[in-house]
Symmetry: C2
Subunit: 239 residues, 2 copies
Amino acid sequence: MDRTIEVCFTPKLFADITTKGDYIVVLADILRATTSICAAFQNGVKEIIPVAGLEQARELKEKGYLVASEQDGKKLDWADFGNSAFNFTREAIAGKTLVYCTTNGTKAIDIAKQADKIVMGAFVNISALTEWLVRQNKNILILCSGWKNKFCLEDSLFAGALSEKLLAHPGFTTCCDSVHASMALWDTARPDLFGYLEKAAHRHRLKKLDLDDVIPYSFEPDTTRVIPVFEEGVIRNAG
Amino acid sequence: MDRTIEVCFTPKLFADITTKGDYIVVLADILRATTSICAAFQNGVKEIIPVAGLEQARELKEKGYLVASEQDGKKLDWADFGNSAFNFTREAIAGKTLVYCTTNGTKAIDIAKQADKIVMGAFVNISALTEWLVRQNKNILILCSGWKNKFCLEDSLFAGALSEKLLAHPGFTTCCDSVHASMALWDTARPDLFGYLEKAAHRHRLKKLDLDDVIPYSFEPDTTRVIPVFEEGVIRNAG
């Protein structure tokens, strides 16, 4: 039986997905949550507790946890870190538990909790992730975090790149229009990815906030083999 | 002041649009409502009353109106017509008022009522529509009807084709990721449009219902100059 692939362009469309049976959600928040989570595991974080609300993040900070938290792309002053991959150095996080709260990413985790598993996808772990997904023998839903419920280019580009890699394996199939559209988008952008990204609205948002230093890192494929999997409230490395 | 273009991939995302000020909604339901509405005006229908609910359509049928109504692509037995452009022959509709109820199209009209104007867009009127939009001097939101809240290829392809035509005029600008994505999709599909459409999930749905005879007509550009505009509950030809 072929395994299906579906792409959901924003969490707001999650209620209408058609994927059935056992499935894995690949969460994509390329700028920046899922990329940063991969970076944190690459640098030895023990586990990450994602929270959707600022209040909960602040409570855990008061209990002594290390907390990464941002709103609209900006670090909150009471938090230990913002949401940039570059914050999560080995010195700062190796062996530790990190509480993580973001505008889009952790809310998407919250929405996708009904899935069998949720795994963090990014360009930085795309090949290791593909191999891991091939071994899982489940249907796949790629959930783009988007930006405030809206479609965004960077997550959709990743959805196209990952769909293409998965469909190159026998045993995967799709009848999802969003998969085809994201692959067309990836195909258009690939020859000059950074030139194409100049068009992305979110890139300009990040530029405005002086946070666009993570862009080259976020689109560099395969700098890590970590597989951050969310299960029972915690993200751990299954790679 | 440049006019903005935004694409909304499904009515479910309409609440989160960023277009501000006076704007025109271009509604796209290529298979088949907006294409069929253009065909009806090309064949001389006087006006079209769109209704979102089957009950209301049936009441108007009992009052003596001609009614086109379908559910999931199939004509309802009590209706005069289904939703195919080929139903609306000159003999059947010239000079008459038509009540029109569809799964996706009229619901999208209902959602977009807050706009200054709603105009029906399709490949069959794309050039006349572009010229008309250029003359209106308003921001533009292209609203894809989608399929049961989901992204669909055929409406998004049209959004890309129309965005490209509008952006070729000075005075239009966009910072909408969905505009860029739909133009990439259109660029990919254009060299072999019908080959590409084989991928569209909805095409297979129509095939199953034996309704795919309208496909070549629906993607043939510029077979009409009608501009069906919805205002105050009624669609009339502004072309």
